[in-house]
Point group: D2
Chain length 277, copies 4
C-alpha cells in the first residue's frame, strides 16, 4: 500500500548561550520512504550541516546558534510504502539465523533492560506460539497493564520502571515492548516518527520487531494507525533518536506538528502485519 | 610503537541442548592490528560462520552445537601499532565538531547511565582543564574511590550502582569511566580484549575516549600496561561485546587464556597517551 | 488450637576481632506463645545481656565476643496457640478505623517499597472483594509468578526487584506480599521464626496482615504449615529482624536448626485463617 | 537555652470523596517542648480523634471528611529547651553500648538505604575522628556535593538516588545524611518540624543523630538555625512523618505556615552541639 503524507514541524527556541543543535526531525530516506518535496527554514538563516547515520539512515542537522530567538521550520511531502502481510504467516527468526548486524537489537540498552526482565517475559509469553502474534500479545499485555498518562514519567524512566509503575507515554510503551521482545530473543528497535492522527500532534515513538527476516511495525499505545507512521529515526532506544540533542542553554518555547494524509482513503487501524520495507 | 603478541584462548563447554554460540573472541582486524597467523579449532569439528560488524570490525563466529562436550581453541599472533602522544597536547573535541558517527558514544547505554550522573560529573570534574588529562582525572577518581573485588558485582551491575557501591571488576571500572566521560560530553566506548600481564589471565575490559579527533586507550583499573591491550571488540558497553552470546543450555567448564609479548622489550606502564589507531 | 514445639538452634562463628553480636533467635514471649523450657549456652561462657523491644516483644541477646571460636546453642520448648477462623468472615479494616500504632505498617519500608507498587497492586487486586481472601489472592499471585530459588537474590533485594525479576527466597516472597498489601492500605508486617517441616531447616520468613482488628499469618511460599510457625521477631521488613546483627569481623561456620512437633497430630496445611493471637 | 515560639499552620483542601485525614502537624509534647497554648480549628467543625505514637510522641489527628471544602487551622505557643554542648566533648556510642530501642535507627529504611552506602561511607568518613564532628563532616559533605533545588526530586527519591543525582530538597538532604550515619553505625532518625526563619515558610525536614547517649540536632541544608527547630514528629524516614496521610480523593488548595520567635534575642546559627532533650 502506497500512501502520501505531508509533515510539518515548527520548533522555536530561546537560546541563552552559544549552542549546538543536532536535530533529528527530517523524514528518513529509506527503501520505503521517498521524499517528494522537502523544505527546511531556519530563522535566523544559519548555515547547517546535514549528515547521515550509516545503515539506519537517521538524518542529523547540525546548527551552531548564537543567543537570541531561533526557529526551525521543516516541511515535507513523502511517499511511504507499507507492505501488508498475513500475521499468521510470520515466524520468529531462530537465533541461529539472525544476521550479525541484527544481533545488537537483542542486547539490553539504557531504557530497555531486557536482561532484568527474562523471567517475567518467560512466565508471561514463553507458552505462546512464536511468531508475529507473540509480539502482538506483548503489545496487548502492555496495553492492558500500563496506563497512558502524560507527565507520569520522565527522560530517565526505563522499561524496568514501567513494568512495575504501570504508567507512561508512548516512549515508555515502546521501551517496555522492546525489552520484553529482546528478553525472548526477538530483535526489537525503537522508532521515532511523524504520526497521522495523533492527538495532540507530537513526535511519536513506536517500535519495530524483526520477524521472518524483516522488520515489522508495532505500537502498544494503539493511538494511531500503523500505516500512518512516517519514520524519522530508529535506534536501540530513545537515547539514540532524540529529536534534538542540544549543547548549550536553551528553552523550547514552541513546538507544533502537523501530519496530513494526502490520499483520499485515510489510514485506519488494521490487524494486518505492516512492514515498513 | 609496534608490538607483537601471541594470544591463546581455550574455552570448554558442556552442552546440554542444541545450542547456538556466537563468539567474539578473535582479535579484531583494524588499522593498527594485523593478524600474522591465526588458528581456530573446534572440537568436535563443526562448521562455523564468521561475520564482521560494520564500522567497528568486531568479528563474530557462529556455531551450532549439538549436546555433548564442546571445545574452542583460538591462537593468534598479532602485530599491534600504538601511537604515543604527549597527553598535554590532546584537547577535547567540541560538541559542534563531533562527527555524527561518534555521537552515539555520548548517549547513555544499558550499563553507562550517563544521564543520571550529570551533576556528579559536573561537580567532580567540570572545574578541570578539558582534554586528555580530564579523562585521566576520571580514571584516578575511580581508582581512588572504587575497590577492585572479584565477585562483588554481577552482569546487571551498572555505573549507577558502582558509583555508590564503590566496588567492582574491570567491566564495572570501564562502565563508570565511560558514563562519567559521556556526562561531560566526551565520547567514550567500551572495549574488550586480550591483555598482557593480566593476573589471573582473563578477558579484560577497558575503554576508549574520543579526544582531539581520535580514540585513546584508558584503563581505570591500572592492572595492565596500555600497550599490552589487544582489542577483540568494542561497543557502547559490555552488552555489545560479550565474548560469547549463547542460545541454549550450556555450562562453561574451562576457560584458559594466555597472552605473551614476543618482543624483547616488554610492555610497561606509561604516562603517555596511547592511541590504538 | 494448642501446639507444642521443640526448637533447637546452633550457630558457630569464627571471630576475627573483638565483636558485638546482637542475636534475635529466642522464641518471642507473646500472648499466644509460652516458653515452657528454655536453655541458652554460649561457648566460651560469656556474659550476655537480654533486652526486649517494646510492643512487638522481639528479644535481643547482646554478647561481646573476643577473637576465636564462638558457639551459641539455644533450645526451647514452647506452647503456641493458634486461632482458627473462617476466612470468609474476615474483613479488611477501613483506614478510618486503623489504630494509630498499626499505621506504620502501611508505610513503605526498605525492602517493601509499596509506594512504587500502587498501580500494579490496583490493577491486579483492586477489583477483588476486600478481606482475608484478597490477601490470599496476593499470596497466590506471588506463588504463581515468582520462582523459589536459593541464592537467586541477596540482602539488598527488595520487593521492587522481585516483582519483576520473579525469583527469590522466603524473605523475598514476604517482602513482595507485604508491599502489595500496603499498596492496598492493608497493614502488613514481616515475621521471622522457626518453622516446622521446613526443608532444609533454616530460619523462615513469612508475614502477618492486619485484618478485622487482628493479625493473621500468611506465607506465600507455601513451604510449611501456618500452624508450624513459631515467631522469633516481627518488624517492618527483614531489616528489623535479622537473626544476628554483628559489629566486627566474623565468619559463620555452622548453622543448624531443628524444629520438632511434640504433638501426636502434626501441623498440616490448612485453608483456615490462622491468627497468632 | 529556653526559647518561645509561635507556630501557625493553615491547610485548605478540596475534598472530592469521603476521605480520612491523619494529620501530623501538632507540635510534639516532649521533655523539652512544652505547649503553652494551642488551638485547632476545623471548618466544617468535624469531630476528630487525637492519638499518640508510643515512645516518640508523634501526635496524630484523625478526621473523617465529607466532600466539599475543608480547612484546618492550627496555632500553638511553645516553650522549647535546647541544650548547648561543646561539640568536641561528644563521642559516638559504641555498638556494644547502644540501647536496644535505639538499634532500629541503624537499620536501613525506605528512603535511607544505608546498606547500599557502606563502602562510600567508609571511604569518605571512616578515617575521621568518631564523634559529633564526624556527623558534622557528613553534613558538610552533603552541603558541598548536593544542590538544594525545589522540585528536583519527588516522594520516591531516596538517599541512593541523591548521593549520585546530587540535587534535592530538605527531606533528601536529611535522608542522605541519615543513610550515611547509619552506614557508619551511628543511629540517626528523621525529624519534621516547624522552623524559624525558613524562607519560604514550609514544614521542614532535618535529622537527629544519637551520640554519647542522647540525640542531637543536625541539618545539612543549613537553611535555618538549629535553635529554631520545633519538632512535630520523628521516625525512621519521611515515610513515618508525613504531615498528612490521606485516604480519599482530595486536592490541597492552600498551605500557609508561620513561625515567630517570641524572644527578644532571635535564634541564630551556631557551631555548638544542640540537643533537643
Amino acid at each position: 500500500m502506497n500512501r502520501k503524507f505531508y509533515c510539518d514541524c515548527e520548533l522555536d527556541y530561546q537560546v541563552m548561550s552559544d549552542s549546538t543543535f543536532i536535530f533529528n526531525i527530517a523524514v528518513a530516506k529509506t527503501e520505503n520512504q521517498t521524499i517528494v518535496t522537502e523544505n527546511l527554514e531556519l530563522s535566523p538563516e544559519l548555515p547547517y550541516e546535514e549528515s547521515l547515520e550509516p545503515i539506519v539512515n537517521n538524518r542529523y542537522l547540525k546548527v551552531n546558534v548564537p543567543p537570541g530567538q531561533f526557529k526551525l521550520s521543516y516541511r515535507s511531502q513523502v511517499d511511504v510504502t507499507y507492505v501488508d502481510q498475513d500475521p499468521n504467516q510470520i515466524p520468529e527468526t531462530l537465533p541461529s539465523d539472525l544476521p550479525v548486524e541484527i544481533l545488537k537489537y537483542i542486547y539490553p540498552s539504557r531504557y530497555c533492560e531486557s536482561d532484568r526482565l527474562l523471567r517475567l517475559a518467560q512466565s508471561e509469553f514463553s507458552h505462546l506460539q512464536p511468531g508475529y502474534s507473540r509480539v502482538t500479545a506483548i503489545c496487548n499485555w502492555i496495553y492492558d497493564h500500563v496506563t497512558y498518562l502524560s507527565g507520569s514519567t520522565n527522560s530517565q524512566t526505563s522499561a524496568f520502571n514501567t513494568v512495575t509503575e504501570r504508567t507512561g507515554v508512548c516512549r515508555d510503551f515502546a521501551h517496555l515492548a522492546i525489552a520484553l521482545c529482546r528478553a525472548l530473543n526477538i530483535p526489537a528497535r525503537f522508532a521515532a516518527g511523524y504520526a497521522y492522527n495523533l492527538v495532540p500532534p507530537d513526535f511519536h515513538a513506536y517500535f519495530e520487531a524483526y520477524l521472518g527476516g524483516r522488520w515489522y511495525l508495532f505500537d502498544a499505545t494503539r493511538l494511531v494507525p500503523l500505516e500512518g507512521l512516517i519514520r524519522i529515526g530508529t535506534g536501540r532506544d530513545a537515547a539514540d533518536v532524540s529529536f534534538a540533542t542540544i549543547f548549550g542553554a536553551i528553552e523550547l518555547t514552541k513546538m507544533q506538528l502537523l501530519v496530513n494524509s494526502l490520499d483520499e482513503e485515510k489510514p485506519e487501524a488494521t490487524t494486518d502485519a505492516i512492514s515498513p520495507a
